[in-house]
């Protein structure tokens, strides 16, 4: 991608300077407009999106959070209904769609939410998810890709603004706020304290550290030819089946449901929680049969979901390159390395074909 194009495209938007000093004020202002959520420190060296109590705790320069943004729309654990055996009744748990502002999110994260929108809108629209998606404003921020981010290589540049209302780019004095849509315009105007910027902003290129050997457009093609690749078996030797790569994935949406009765044995709740195709009970059917018993076939399925099945349906890759599956895999299985190995396999096959 040509960075000059990016600079030209970005400079078509209205721009305002938010000085470093003004950022906490701006966040305080946002708090008067809705519930604000942003990345904050979690533990020693991790980050997590949390409700913003104190603007001083908001972090704008971070590699990624542990859980993706999906946690706000498809919570890790969620009560679906409560029931009562005594009068044989149940009540659906209300989902309130409060106004929420997500402050300082990365472009791949926004893309992840757009992929989930696709998954939850098609077929049987998922009410709870769609309710929670109402009334949300997203304010993006630039980031420095690390060795796990694949977004760039998958066609999602750092400055991708789709779905965002404002995009923040760091400069010496603070941040340039690029106004992307009307909601963003209203927020900047409502805050009122920022100076309009008229000169061209020369956004610095943020080089990607992780590379994929093919253009991302060719990946669905590669996945048509690697179903029997040895790569799946090689990964399965290291893979522990822990499911981290499913649960933390920006676009995975699978869940399981369980009823739990209270101690009175009269009433109870139905809860759903994140599940994933790497886990044992996922493909288990009656009689303890498991139609995807091997870890190799599970990884193969997971990646086909990201690069082929849903892509054929929707036209978009369903991996947004957040890098969580690589960063948090305890066995250090890296998605970029896997894709490159599959590409090598594919290239090898093509060569053999030509030789005949």
């Amino acid at each position: 991608m040509n960075y000059l194009d990016t600079i030209t495209r970005m400079n078509l938007h209205e721009k305002y300077l938010l000085t470093s000093k003004q950022i906490p004020d701006f966040i305080s202002f946002l708090k008067t407009q809705g519930a604000v959520y942003a990345a904050q420190k979690k533990g020693e060296q991790s980050y997590s999106y949390q409700y913003v109590e104190d603007p001083a705790n908001v972090v704008l320069d971070y590699p990624r959070t542990i859980q993706p943004l999906k946690k706000f729309f498809l919570p890790p654990r969620e009560e679906l209904l409560s029931f009562d055996y005594q009068n044989n009744s149940y009540q659906k748990t209300d989902v309130v769609a409060e106004k929420r502002i997500f402050f300082g999110i990365h472009s791949y994260e926004m893309q992840g939410v757009l992929r989930l929108d696709y998954s939850f809108k098609k077929g049987n629209p998922e009410g709870n998810y769609l309710n929670r998606r109402e009334n949300c404003i997203f304010i993006g921020v630039s980031y420095e890709p690390d060795e796990f981010h694949l977004a760039n290589a998958l066609g999602i540049e750092v400055e991708n603004t789709e779905g965002l209302s404002i995009y923040l780019e760091p400069v010496r004095e603070g941040y340039i706020a690029f106004v992307i849509d009307e909601a963003g315009q209203n927020l900047i105007q409502g805050f009122g304290k920022t100076a309009k910027v008229t000169e061209t902003i020369h956004i610095k290129e943020k080089p990607a550290k992780a590379k994929i050997r093919y253009h991302y457009n060719r990946l669905p093609k590669v996945f048509e030819h690697v179903y029997t690749s040895q790569v799946w078996g090689q990964i399965a030797k290291k893979c522990l089946g822990c499911g981290t790569c499913n649960l933390l994935c920006s676009t995975c949406y699978c869940f399981d449901v369980r009823d739990e009765v209270s101690l009175d044995l009269q009433s109870g709740t139905r809860e759903r929680f994140w599940d994933g195709c790497m886990l044992n009970r996922f493909a288990e059917v009656a009689g303890n049969e498991n139609f995807r018993d091997e870890l190799s076939s599970r990884t193969r399925h997971r990646l086909h979901r990201k690069f082929k099945y849903l892509t054929e349906e929707s036209g978009a890759l369903h991996c947004v390159g957040c890098g969580r599956c690589s960063k948090y895999c305890p066995a250090k299985i890296n998605l970029g390395t896997t894709i490159n190995a599959l590409i090598d396999d594919f290239t090898e096959q093509q060569k053999l074909k030509e030789a005949y």
Partner: protein, 244 residues
Amino acid sequence: MSKPKVAFFDFTSCEGCQLNKLNFENDFLDMLEHVDIVEFREAMDDKADEYDIAFIEGSISTPTCIERIHDIRRRAKVLVALGQCACSGGVNAMKNLHQPDWVREEVYGNEKYRFPSIPAQPVSAVVKVDYEVRGCPMSAPEYLHIFKSLVMGRKPEIFDHAVCVECKLKENECVLDKGMFCLGPVTRAGCEAICPGNGQYCTGCRGPISNLNLEGAVEMLREHGFSETEARKRLHLFSANELV
């Protein structure tokens, strides 16, 4: 409907699981409303001929254990193993890795002939076990789930996924990222990742998931800077029977 008759028995163990149960306090008292406790050495003294649910704590490690467990099984409609000793032999099974004579001498010295002992085995090695509550001590959330389900006549749902899943659901910071050791990726969930949730590593006290990739686990720990010897030793702590 009469209340189900419930009994608790202990075999070779530290009895930590039974005490752990009394620690539920209010929850435990609430549950007692729904059952008749007919045998529970720690709390009362009574005998009954038949049990709807028999909870067994501890491993099978002497010839008399075998007789007793057969007797209990005959009189129990549902039999539940409580805690890691009962489920896998637990820490007791560490002794199985050594010569039996040496073990007896170490423990009983000159008196060793008065204490016949056999390798520590899970209850399931001798009789049919219907459900297991894993953990050392047994995990309270799983125990409550199984207890409530059985009293209501429902089939309990037991997890067969890794502790990591529970960490991810809670968005815990991974202790591996802090340079600590962890067996969570191969240990069976059901404890709500209580150790990593409190900044500790998982020692694997609930035993491995059913599709344990043992060599993968050793390799994973090596990737994180732990020697193969250390990795194997720690994997054996609670799961000697399952891993040999």
